[in-house]
């Protein structure tokens, strides 16, 4: 059986960063990465840019095969880890192989949740997680006119912009909630997003969801199970009874973690794999980083799952040090920002720190829909200090840096808090 000093499950942001840092600290150690996708590392952040034709396909890739060989990292791609035995420190793989590890890093990331309604296997019903999904989107949009996006997550915005920029004339986003991005934003911030989408040819329909899909040509599903497998989606039938003609459908209903293969091993799992502030699990020599880690966040003094690029990268760095015996507390406030559609009609958004209303003591709004920019600042008293713990910012990038500084400094803001709702109050002055 093959044996390695460091075994990393997952070759995206957290896993690849960890491998590189381990190599720097342990020049002689053996390192293997098991990567489910049959590719070298690429940037999921660039997928929206790829489908908008801002960059070519090859530019999405961050690493070439040569990089792994230069770093003497054994990169096993197109293979899934499917069994873990903690007593013998062994991982079994989908290709029949087994690897014994000295230290194990779980950096598996998430996978898309699939819709399970009638007709959901029709062609041109798309997901967006992998580079192949991006290829499919570009192909599916050719010659199409009408697109429908299902779901109110982050990826719905990528579908909406991607569809429009691939020539789809009418794009409708269908959300079952009260408003767009209701899990991330308040109603006003969402309205602002919706206004920007509207200016760019994207309509939002709320309080409704898909009941089933029908194939082009009008045959009803699922009553015709014999339908040819090549048939494309032609209609979305909603629970409210609307029948919407469509050429392409984008589904963004969430990400799930596949942790079944470790669930009975004794590794503690809650929403994700539980770790302490060193990203160590409860089992010796097993660590978790990135989207699959529910880590003890010393900054906000709670367990925390953060599914974003900057978090995955900085956890990859911290966990690698810990795996090499350099004790390092993971302490980073990660944020995520992006833009959608081009200026002047386009918009920008940022999420920094913890933007969870149930966690904060108070949420302060700055700006307005009319002003075209809005921020929500999340405030909480921690150990007697009134601190900013997070913010959501729509269309006001100049607020990101001062708010990030205020979160990082753990500054007591109680004497300034009354001024926060005044958009003219300069946060930079107190950061």
């Amino acid at each position: 059986m093959k044996a390695v000093d460091f075994l990393i499950i997952g070759g995206s942001a957290a896993g690849t960063t960890a491998a590189e840092v381990i190599r720097g600290l342990k020049p002689e150690a053996s390192i293997s990465i098991i990567n489910e996708e049959n590719h070298e590392q690429y940037s999921r952040v660039l997928l929206p840019h790829y489908i908008r034709h801002k960059i070519g396909r090859e530019q999405v890739f961050l690493k070439k095969a040569q990089w792994y060989s230069e770093k003497n990292i054994d990169f096993i791609k197109g293979v899934r880890a499917h069994r873990l035995e903690v007593s013998s420190k062994k991982v079994s793989l989908s290709n029949g192989g087994e690897i014994e590890y000295g230290k194990l890093l779980l950096a598996v990331g998430g996978e898309v949740m699939k819709l399970d309604v009638g007709g959901s296997d029709l062609e041109n019903i798309l997901y967006l997680r992998t580079i192949e999904d991006g290829d499919r989107l570009i192909n599916a949009c050719r010659g199409g006119k009408k697109g429908i996006v299902i779901g109110g997550g982050f990826v719905s915005l990528d579908f909406a912009t991607g569809f429009r920029l691939n020539g789809i004339e009418e794009v409708t986003v269908l959300v079952r909630d009260e408003y767009f991005w209701s899990k991330h934003l308040d109603h006003e911030s969402s309205l602002l997003m919706q206004n920007i989408l509207g200016k760019n040819g994207v309509k939002v329909v709320t309080h409704d969801e898909v009941d089933h899909f029908e194939a082009k040509g009008g045959r009803s599903l699922p009553e015709t199970p014999q339908r040819p497998s090549s048939s494309s989606v032609g209609q979305v039938v909603t629970k409210a009874g609307k029948k919407l003609d469509v050429d392409v459908v984008g589904v963004g209903i969430g990400i799930k973690l596949d942790l079944d293969w470790i669930s009975s091993t004794g590794v503690k799992i809650n929403r994700a794999v539980l770790t302490n502030e060193y990203l160590e699990t409860n089992i010796p020599d097993i660590y978790a980083a990135g989207d699959c880690s529910e880590f003890h966040d010393v900054f906000f003094e709670r367990q925390h799952v953060m599914g974003n690029w900057a978090n995955a990268i900085s956890q990859g760095l911290a966990v690698a040090k810990n795996m090499c015996g350099v004790k390092t507390v993971y302490e980073t406030i990660s944020s995520y920002s992006d833009t959608f559609f081009d200026p002047p009609a386009g918009g920008a958004y940022s999420f920094i720190g913890v933007t969870d209303e149930s966690y904060a003591d108070k949420v302060i709004k700055r700006g307005s829909v009319e002003a075209g920019k809005m921020a929500r600042i999340f405030v909480k008293s921690i150990n007697g200090t009134m601190r900013i713990v997070g913010a959501s910012i729509i269309n006001d990038p100049s607020e990101v840096s001062p708010i990030s500084s205020l979160i990082r400094s753990k500054k007591d803001i109680s004497s300034d808090i009354e001024n926060f709702s005044d958009p003219n109050f300069d946060l930079l002055g107190i950061s």
Partner: protein, 76 residues
């Protein structure tokens, strides 16, 4: 553009989306400006290996590293 011990660092503002992984890894070298784009800080900066890691961490490959002595582009 600015000089450090080893690299000349260039940030492509058109590519930068403010994902801030560079700031998370090399806080003495990078920060975000009022347009939420990465800029370079004056001063000592971070060690070259951390700057390299920060450049490699950029999800849009917006950080370009040029060898200060030879002038050759080293990343991406």
């Amino acid at each position: 553009m600015s000089n450090t011990k080893k690299w000349k660092i260039v940030i492509d503002r058109d590519l930068c989306i403010g994902a801030a992984s560079c700031v998370a890894l090399a806080m003495k070298t990078f920060e975000l400006d009022s347009e939420n784009k990465a800029i370079l800080l004056e001063g000592e900066g971070d060690p070259p290996n951390m700057i390299k890691l920060a450049a490699e961490s950029c999800p849009t490959k917006a950080i370009i590293l040029v060898d200060a002595e030879t002038g050759e582009q080293e990343y991406p």
